[in-house]
């Protein structure tokens, strides 16, 4: 009876969550794997099994997929560095006893609350119309550039918006972590005559590695999958130069009506992203220190 009772209770607690997990995540994931071996336009009742053909086609003929991949990598690396450096700097400043630090923390965090698509449209307006007008008024070269109209400005446009949006979130994580660092350590170092740079590089940074692991992982997984902001900001244009892999997969499936190839691409991408993030977590974890 107790065994029955135990399994019953276990089922009661885990059951609902498992059902939703299976329905919403596991089932689509595996059916996606199935579709990646088929030719399907998304509408026909029966997909046709084609074996490995989709994968061969992607590697042999689809140069745009790899162009998108290269763009995503450049974008990810740039954003990764920019957001983390900025967030760490903001966090360091905002743990100092400044009067306005409460409101400032809120202000920096606020962009995170706005939805991605909306944010993209707002920034599209700022970059295209706002910058253009500022350029006309001030004759500053930066604002006179055709923002979002060339591959370079498109790239930096997306980087700026992404950084602007994510810095606040990471900053909160860093602040929480920095506040947890034992002040005795810093005081002791100060008495021993450590310079503030020495204190930063020898004490604060090593002790923050666990927060850095988290933040790197977060940005890595956000930017690799980035879709909404890019869609509303440039939609991959001009001439597909700012197309992220997520957008590329979307276009393949829904504009080109190749659900099979689209699924195959997402499978390849899943394996790559999974691999990279695992490596990153393992690498930064090995650098973490404990007191």
């Amino acid at each position: 009876m107790t065994l029955v009772k135990k399994t019953g209770l276990t089922l009661l607690f885990i059951g609902p969550a498992s059902i939703f997990f299976i329905l919403i995540i596991a089932y689509p994931f595996f059916s996606g794997i199935y579709y990646s071996f088929t030719e399907w336009n998304g509408v026909n009742a029966k997909p046709i099994w084609v074996g490995m053909r989709n994968f061969i086609e992607i590697f042999k003929e689809d140069s745009q997929f790899f162009a998108s991949f290269w763009f995503t990598v450049r974008f990810t690396v740039t954003t990764l560095i920019l957001t983390n450096v900025l967030a760490f700097a903001f966090a360091l400043i905002l743990i100092q006893p400044i009067k306005s630090r409460g409101p400032l923390r809120t202000v920096f965090f606020l962009p995170n609350v706005i939805g991605g698509v909306l944010l993209g449209f707002i920034w599209r307006f700022i970059l295209v119309n706002g910058f253009g007008t500022i350029g006309e008024l001030t004759n500053l070269q930066v604002f006179m550039l055709p923002w979002l109209g060339s591959p370079e400005t498109g790239f930096w446009g997306i980087v700026i918006v992404y950084t602007w949006r994510s810095v606040g979130y990471l900053m909160i994580i860093y602040i929480a972590h920095l506040l947890n660092i034992d002040t005795h350590l810093l005081e002791a170092a100060k008495i021993d005559g450590a310079s503030s740079f020495g204190m930063f590089s020898k004490i604060i940074l090593p002790l923050s590695m666990s927060a850095i692991t988290v933040c790197l992982f977060l940005v890595l997984s956000w930017t690799f999958k980035s879709f909404d902001i890019v869609l509303s900001l440039t939609a991959g244009g001009p001439f597909r130069s700012t197309e992220t892999v997520a957008l590329n997969i979307y276009y393949e499936a829904f504009s080109y009506s190749n659900f099979g190839i689209g699924s195959a691409k997402s499978l390849i991408y899943f394996i790559l992203v999974g691999g990279v993030t695992m490596l990153q977590v393992r690498f930064t974890k090995s650098r973490e220190v404990e007191v």
Binding site: L9, L12, G42, V43, P146, G237, F239, R240, F254, S255
Partner: protein, 416 residues
């Protein structure tokens, strides 16, 4: 344990009650007719139609679903079908999408309205001799131009060829207005509508596209595509700044504020133009492909969408009845012409209150000076690729010949 048992029993009871009530609804007399369209601007009118139609046929309840604007309505539609919840009546934008949905389409050849549909509007939706879709209206595009600016700049005759258009552009430039407002960031402006012109200006566009499919000819060696370079260059040379960041809204605001004299758009912008400026003097001129006025002086006219009926639907007869009501009853006609401001695709529906653009289009159509919307027959994905190649050319990344070669390569790749 008892509590768990009780919980399960209650859950079961609730579930069976839901099931029972669902059953009851099915048995009642009112039938649900689900309709899917993408005209976001018509949401209110469709709500009215739903109410009105309740009085016409009390046993049918219309459910209207609208997905559109810049949103991917065809994505939503495909998703619905993939989920097994295809609507009873829905929209396809042309034969290419109709082919995608071919296994769901119902033959409409025997419907009473068929004899009144304009021949050119019927043709794209005839498969194996069967008419599979019903058009509402025809649309056309070209260079919408500001008549006042043309007059004041001294352009008194509407240009028919590239050379004449260049002379006009020079005069307008000297007058102090930018001649062209290019919305080249918009894939459908540049990849679909602009690139349709050289395709549709071929002596036989259908044969040309078949010849491309079979490899008998190429885009690169085609004379019309080569001469089209002059037109493309002309719009860039005499165009607005940053065409690759100008979308269709920006384009229209340039036009409505008189900063540019021409925009490549269609009669779907007419309502907006008159809203911004009730006394606007506007008209439309064709986009020339060369210096031969017989080939060049033609507007592309086509059907923007067709209504089709899902053959899996259990209310097919009701669906046919509804579509027929829209084009044969007085109320239905009023919605087409007055509320939607359409140019009807039927010879028995009179349109009134049309603006300058629509009237110009009707004049060209009446004189037979039209070319088709060839892009409706392009393979899936071609708009995107053509937009990519042409935008590269606008940005100066590739030459015109490289652009034609890239378009050719895309065609070969996607025709497979």
């Amino acid at each position: 344990m008892k509590k768990v048992l009780l919980f399960v029993i209650i859950l079961g009871a609730v579930a069976s009650m839901c099931y029972a009530s669902g059953q009851a609804e099915k048995g009642s007399e009112v039938k649900e007719l689900n309709l899917f369209h993408f005209k976001v601007s018509q949401v209110e009118q469709w709500e009215e139609i739903t109410e009105v139609y309740k009085n016409v046929v009390p046993t049918v309840n219309l459910n209207i679903e609208t997905v559109g604007g810049a949103a991917d309505w065809s994505t939503a539609l495909k998703t619905k079908f993939a989920a097994g919840a295809g609507p009873d009546i829905f929209i396809v934008d042309g034969p290419a999408l109709a082919k995608t949905f071919s296994e769901y389409l119902t033959d409409l050849s025997d419907e009473p309205w068929v004899e009144h549909v304009l021949e050119s509007a019927k043709r794209p939706m005839v498969f194996d001799g069967k008419l599979m879709g019903m058009p509402f209206n025809i649309e056309g595009y070209g260079f919408i131009y500001n008549k006042a600016i043309f007059r004041e700049a001294g352009v008194l005759k509407t240009p028919k060829t590239i050379d004449e258009l260049r002379q006009a552009a020079e005069k307008i430039q000297n007058y102090g207005v930018t001649p062209f407002g290019n919305g080249y960031s918009e894939w459908w402006v540049i990849g679909m509508h602009l690139m349709n012109i050289p395709f549709a200006s071929q002596p036989d566009p259908e044969e040309f596209s078949n010849a491309l499919d079979s490899g008998k000819t190429t885009i690169v060696e085609n004379e019309i595509f080569q001469s089209f370079k002059d037109l493309f260059d002309l719009t860039i040379q005499y165009g607005n700044k940053n065409p690759l960041t100008t979308d269709h809204n920006a384009q229209m605001s340039l036009f409505n504020t008189g900063q540019v004299a021409m925009v490549q758009q269609g009669n779907w912008k007419e309502v907006g133009i008159y809203e911004a400026n009730p006394n606007a003097e506007v008209g439309i001129i064709p986009i020339p492909v060369n210096n031969d006025p017989d080939v060049s002086n033609r507007v592309p006219v086509g059907v923007p969408f067709y209504w089709v009926i899902n053959n899996q639907s259990i209310v097919q007869d009701e669906a046919k009845q509804f579509l027929n009501w829209m084009v044969s009853s007085e109320t239905g006609n009023r919605y087409l012409t007055d509320e939607f401001s359409y140019i009807p695709a039927f010879d028995n529906i009179k349109s009134n209150l049309l603006g300058g653009i629509s009237n110009d289009l009707l004049t060209y159509a009446g004189e037979g000076k039209t070319i088709p919307w060839s892009f409706t027959t392009w393979h899936d994905g071609m708009y995107n690729e053509f937009a990519e190649h042409t935008q590269k050319y606008v940005a100066g990344k590739i030459t015109y010949d490289e652009m034609l070669q890239d378009m050719q390569d895309s065609w070969v790749k996607l025709a497979k």
